[in-house]
Each structure stands twice: as C-alpha cells, then as structure tokens.
C-alpha cells in the first residue's frame, strides 16, 4: 500500500492540478454549463444521478467482461493455430491486419443490419477490437522462443505438444499479458460503441441520451466512468499478471 502511495502521488498530483485549472478556468471565463461544466458540477451530477446510473454501469460491465473473455479466447486460439500452421499464418496474416483497418463506426450499423439488435453484433464489435492485440502479442511470444531452449527440448525427445505446453506457451505468457492489458482497455471502448448500436441499457446509451439533450455534465460523467472502468480492468489484469508471472518478480 505504501508502495502504491509512493509511486502514485505524482500522477495523482498532476491530475488534481489539471482539475483545479479546469475548475478555475470555467468560473473565470464564465463558460456556460452546457458547453463545458466544471469538475465540481460533474461530481455533483455523478452523486445525484448515481442511483439511475447503476443499471447502465452494470450492463456495460457485463458486456465488457463477456466480450473481453470471448475476444481474448478467440485471439489466443487464433494465435496458437497460426503458430502451429506456418503456411496458414502466411496466408491469413494480411487479413488479420485488414480486419483492424475497417472503421468500427462504419461496421457497427452493418452488423445491426445483419444480426439485429441482440447481443451478437455487440459481442462481434468487442471481439474485433479485442482479439488483435492478443493475437499479435501471443504469436510474437511463440516466435521468439530462444532456439537453445527449443534445441534442448527437441534433443530431450519432446513431442510437439510438450514443446508447446512446456516451453512456447510459458515463454509467450508475458507477451500475452501485455496483449491482454491493451485489450482490456479497448474492450470498454468497444462495449460503449456497441451500445450506440441500439441497446436498452448501458453507459453508451446513457451517453447518447445525455448528448442529445445537451446534458454535457452527464456526458462527462459517462466519460469519467469509462475511464475508471478501464483503469479497474487494467488493474485487474495487472494483478493477474503478477500472480501468474511470480518468477519475474523474484528475478529482479
């Protein structure tokens, strides 16, 4: 805990300073509320509207977790398959990159046309933004397995599955976790965007309603909630990483 305090006070101080400047600027320049609300009025709105926010928040978090789990699982499976089949990898790699060049904003309405307003198009959107960092990171981790270690395993008579399970997978795990961390933050964004497609609940819905009625303070509440949820997600993955990669901690 004291370590967190030691490391955390600098960014916290900067954040606080920024908020103070924002607050002062809004008051000094007399900026109207619907244009840019002061941090205090955002906080006030957050406090007042918290009860109404909860269902939105809950549904977004569930969607994020579901999409993240599905997206990352697919990402890891794709990485393993492509690693095991180098010929396929060559053929499919450009497609993977292309999949990231399709703007989600354009794709999202199409998905609704194809799959309706249900859960499926939303999960597809989150999966599309989630799997790529994980796939690339995992493939890179598999590929960079030191050749001396591979030679040792092969000469010791390791089968292909043993080589993967005992060497390539654990070696790639740190890389996989960096991919997971990126995906964790993306998945929150993905969930919010997918809620714009049409949903009954969710931070994305709350946000659209707020901006169409010029409740700028509520838009900012949504923004801050998205940031906090992203941070918490990132923190959870980091904690899981610490636990899974204990050997790295003890090395340093």
């Amino acid at each position: 805990m004291s370590k967190l305090l030691q490391k955390g006070w600098r960014p916290a101080a900067v954040l606080l300073l920024l908020l103070c400047i924002w607050e002062a600027a809004v008051h000094l320049a007399n900026i109207p509320r619907w244009l840019l609300p002061a941090p205090t009025s955002i906080a006030l709105e957050f406090g007042n509207g918290f009860g109404g926010l909860m269902p939105h928040l809950q549904s977004t978090i569930l969607l994020t977790i579901g999409g993240f789990l599905i997206g990352c699982t697919i990402g890891i499976i794709v990485a393993i398959v492509l690693h095991m089949l180098p010929g396929v990898q060559e053929a499919v790699y450009p497609l993977l990159i292309l999949s990231q060049n399709v703007p989600i904003i354009v794709l999202a309405p199409l998905l609704v046309i194809w799959f309706g307003f249900g859960l499926l198009p939303k999960i597809i959107v989150i999966t599309l933004v989630c799997f790529f960092p994980v796939t690339i990171a995992a493939m890179n981790g598999f590929r960079t397995t030191p050749s001396e270690m591979k030679h040792y395993m092969l000469m010791a008579g390791a089968k292909k599955t043993q080589l993967f399970a005992k060497l390539e997978w654990p070696h790639a795990l740190p890389a996989v976790f960096s991919g997971l961390k990126i995906s964790a933050t993306y998945s929150v964004m993905g969930a919010v965007i997918s809620e714009w497609l049409g949903a009954k609940k969710g931070i994305g819905v709350y946000m659209t309603l707020a901006s169409s009625s010029f409740r700028t303070d509520r838009v900012f509440v949504a923004i801050f909630i998205i940031m906090i949820v992203s941070l918490v997600f990132f923190g959870l993955i980091t904690a899981a990483e610490r636990w899974a990669l204990k050997w790295r901690e003890e090395e340093s």
Binding site: P146, E148, M149, H151, Y152, M153, L154, M155, A156, G157, A158, Q162, K166, L167, P170, H171, L173, L245, W247, R248, E250, E251, S252
Partner: protein, 244 residues
C-alpha cells in the same frame, strides 16, 4: 560392446564442410572428452548425436542399434545452461524425466542438496549464480532417464576458481551415479583432469586427429593438475594439437 558408436559421420552446412568422416566410440561407464578448437564443429556433432540434425553420411549407433536422426535417446547439457526461468529449480531439474513420463521428486531433492543447493528447490533460476545454474543443468541431465550424457562445454563460461571446483564436483557426482559421459571442451587441462580418454579433433573440416588414453588414477584430486606427470601429458597433447 560400445554404448555409443559413430561411423563415417560427415556433415556440411551449405558450402561449409564441418565434419568429415568422424569415427569414435564410447564404452558404458566411460568418461570420454572431445577436444577441439572453437568453431571446429563440436556442438554440431552433439546436435547430430541428439537427432536435431541429420548427417550427410554415416551412422550413429546406441547399444548397436541405429539411432541416426532419432531424438530423446541421449541426455544433453547444452553450452548455455538454458534453464526455464518460469520453473522452480526442482521443476527444472525434473524436466528431462517429465518429458519421458515419471517424476522422481525424492531423488531430485536429494541431488539438489548434494550439489550444495539445499534450500533453493523452490527458487527460480534468475536468483542463481552462473556456477549454480550449471549445477542445476547438470543435475537435470543426470536425472534424465537416458544412460549417455552429452555435456557441451559446461564450464567454459565460468571463472577459474569456480571451474576447478565444478570439475571436482562433476567427477564425484559421476562416480556416484554410474553414467556414461561424452564431454566437449576446448580446454586441454579440463580434458586431462576429467577424462578416461581424449579424442582430439582437427578443424576445417573436423576429423578425429588423435586419441589418448589417460592413465591417471581415480579419484582425482586438485593437486593432480600440478604434478609433473600431468604437465608432461599437457605438453604431449599441446604438441599433438599444433602439429599439422
């Protein structure tokens, strides 16, 4: 009968002729050293024996059976320790056994303790010094179920103090566990101190140049390397290496 027998072995990489018509054998229980300069193809020879590479010509036999190109029949300690950083020392040491089936933790713990690494069973390799890592890599090779152990310059990265200590430790462990060792080095002294027999390789391409049977009695003490007999042998080996 010889445990390992290598006949007419040749290997080239593209246009580089590395090994030329290598003949050698290792008897069960013997400690044989291959002595050759850096880049002569010693590691390549081990990769051939281990089945990682296929020879252009020649056969490798284990107990009379053709094992050319087959993997998993010898135990191996690579030139770098190549311990797996995510495995504890105990799990590292058991890796060779794990690949072949059963784990014998009792024996592993005993050997870790005998190697002076008691208390490190659950440590990770990152916490160990170079010499300790080499010990772990050697125990891993020793615990593997195969009877022939191939050691590729295990001590070349160590300082003089540690090396001499490790050589003695290697000898005492070897006598206890009754394995056959094929050892690679480019150090004449190391070869003399450790071996029953030394096979000297020439370079470009490597061929077996000469073979020496080393008569020093076992167990061998540190003081051996200062005896006049040892120095006499050293001179003889050096001359053999430099004569063309």
């Amino acid at each position: 009968m010889a445990l390992l027998k290598i006949e007419h072995l040749s290997k080239s990489f593209d246009h580089l002729h590395v090994l030329e018509d290598i003949h050698l054998h290792v008897n069960a229980g013997e400690f044989v050293t291959i002595l050759g300069p850096s880049g002569s193809g010693k590691s390549t020879l081990f990769h051939l024996i281990g089945g990682l590479l296929k020879p252009d010509e020649g056969k490798i036999r284990l107990n009379g059976e053709d094992m050319t190109g087959k993997r998993g029949l010898i135990s191996y300690m690579p030139q770098q320790p190549t311990l797996f950083p995510w495995r504890t020392i105990l799990d590292n040491v058991l890796l060779g056994q794990e690949l072949q089936g059963k784990r014998d933790e009792q024996l592993a713990i005993e050997m870790i303790e005998k190697a002076g690494l008691a208390g490190y069973e659950n440590a990770f390799p990152g916490q160990l010094s170079g010499g300790m890592k080499q010990r772990v890599a050697f125990i891993r090779a020793l615990l593997s179920p195969q009877s022939l152990i191939c050691l590729d310059e295990p001590f070349s990265a160590l300082d003089d103090f540690t090396r001499l200590e490790m050589q003695q430790w290697l000898l005492s462990t070897w006598t206890t566990y009754q394995k056959t060792i094929l050892f690679i080095t480019h150090s004449i002294e190391e070869a003399l101190f450790l071996s029953d027999r030394i096979i000297v390789l020439s370079t470009n391409p490597a061929t077996v140049k000469q073979e020496f049977i080393i008569p020093f009695e076992r167990p061998r003490e540190k003081s051996l390397i200062l005896s006049s007999e040892f120095l006499q042998w050293k001179r003889e080996l050096t001359e053999s290496i430099f004569e063309r």
